[in-house]
């Protein structure tokens, strides 16, 4: 009881104050970053000009928030992280450690995530769940799909940007990764067009930070919507674990001693969780593609 009521150590309180001040400063820098503002402006424009209602294919419009909030957020976070590198000889001798500064940088992801949540709500208002374009998925599963396509990429992108900024010196790394992920998502979707029944192909489609779940058939009746295999809920879990991996990898830079071993242990646990989530995402959901 006495221990519970004992005041916190003054060093811990000072550390928390310094962290809060750092996080607030990084958040302000991120909020005025032109790349982030450009992405935010683009997604606002797309949502404002969206007429709403039923559309032939939901996947044709649901990916834009991921590109503009997640992709552009990643580039902004990468440049924000790298911008501190030249001043490292000065900041490196301050009492705040590199992992603490990295953690403060990671908190900036709250802003694009909040924007992603707002975009999700706006999107659902324009295209309410239950419409034909969402396919045969249940209403909760439709919300899970939209969350995984709109809100979570807005969180994961900036976190990946911080991790890249901490570990990669190449100044164009964020661009390369953005284009690579864009290409990868397109690439792993292609086999599902021709082998929608295959479990390994579904697993490959899920092995990505973003995935499509429905398809409007190119041949046959274009009014049909095919709901692909794969569990939206477990895919959401896989995405959140990828976010955790990005944070841990970013924190690993500059960590030493006990903290380093703790981060590595956490990384191993999280990696095991990622494998489980990916397997469940690939094997869960419908047993076969369902046409509606």
């Amino acid at each position: 009881m006495t221990a519970a009521l004992a005041p916190a150590r003054p060093e811990a309180a000072a550390g928390r104050t310094a962290f809060a001040a750092l996080a607030a400063r990084e958040l302000r820098r991120f909020a005025v970053n032109p790349v982030f503002l450009a992405g935010l402006g683009m997604i606002t424009w797309i949502l404002v000009t969206d007429p709403g209602g039923n559309v032939p294919e939901i996947d044709a419009i649901s990916g834009y928030p991921a590109a503009f909030l997640g992709g552009f957020g990643m580039m902004a976070a990468f440049w924000l992280t790298r911008s501190m590198n030249p001043s490292e000889p000065v900041t490196g001798v301050t009492p705040v450690t590199l992992p603490a500064r990295t953690a403060a940088l990671c908190t900036v992801a709250i802003l694009p995530f909040a924007c992603g949540c707002l975009a999700l709500l706006w999107f659902i208002r324009l295209h309410p769940v239950g419409l034909h374009m969402y396919g045969a998925f249940s209403r909760p599963a439709q919300v899970a799909i939209l969350t995984s396509q709109i809100a979570v990429p807005a969180l994961g992108g900036p976190l990946l940007g911080v991790a890249l900024g901490r570990w990669v010196r190449f100044p164009g790394a964020a661009l390369v990764v953005f284009l690579f992920i864009f290409g990868w998502v397109n690439l792993v979707t292609v086999p599902s067009l021709f082998h929608p029944d295959s479990a390994p192909v579904t697993l490959l489609r899920m092995f990505s930070p973003f995935a499509f779940f429905t398809l409007r058939p190119i041949h046959g009746d274009p009014s049909h919507i095919i709901a692909w295999r794969g569990s939206p809920w477990f895919f959401l879990g896989w995405q959140l674990i990828l976010c955790a991996i990005a944070v841990l990898v970013a924190l690993l830079r500059g960590a030493d001693g006990r903290l380093r071993s703790r981060i590595i242990r956490a990384l191993m646990i999280v990696a095991a969780g990622a494998m489980i989530m990916l397997t469940l995402a690939g094997t869960g959901g419908f047993a076969h593609p369902v046409s509606l």
Binding site: M42, I46, G172, L179, N186
Partner: protein, 199 residues
Amino acid sequence: MAGPMLRAGAWPAVVLLSCVAAVVGGFGAAFPAAITLFPVGFALLAAAAAFTLDEPASMVVDVTPTGPVRRTAIRALALLAPLAAGALVLLAAGLRGLALPWPATGLALAGNVLLGFTVACVARTRTGEPGAAASGAVVLVLMAPILVPPVAGWIRTFPASGGGLSSDAVWWTVLAVCVVAIAISISGRSLPRWMPSVP
């Protein structure tokens, strides 16, 4: 002079981006359904071209008797890397039997690479290492027709079916503007005062 100038170039960045572009474009050739990978690969080649003028020792190099015209001409040799990677992708697509409009695709490849180089030329008048900022700007512009739905209806940067200004018209215009911009930027004139310097 040409040897040291070329050796000092940002070869890791140029070669890395060209290789990634070749891989991305190669997948586009291997999987014709993923045709979007071609413009993505070309945008990466433009980013590679934007790194060719990076000069970490610009404070020293810029005051040597070798003028910007000669320096730029020597560094332009590095454009062979992205052009070769692009040619490799087109060759792979040809071998796979893809029915692309080859002259228009070749023009788009040359246009992408020249656009990246031009933005780097213009930015080089203000900074020694324009690669990061120039490649970012170029990629965002080139990806706009893919990322922004209304832009895809106005212009096309890759020859494909659809509405809007044809890619040939876009790239011939871009090529003409690029030639003028390069000529102005290497003639020793700096950017207008209202244009901010690249950090």
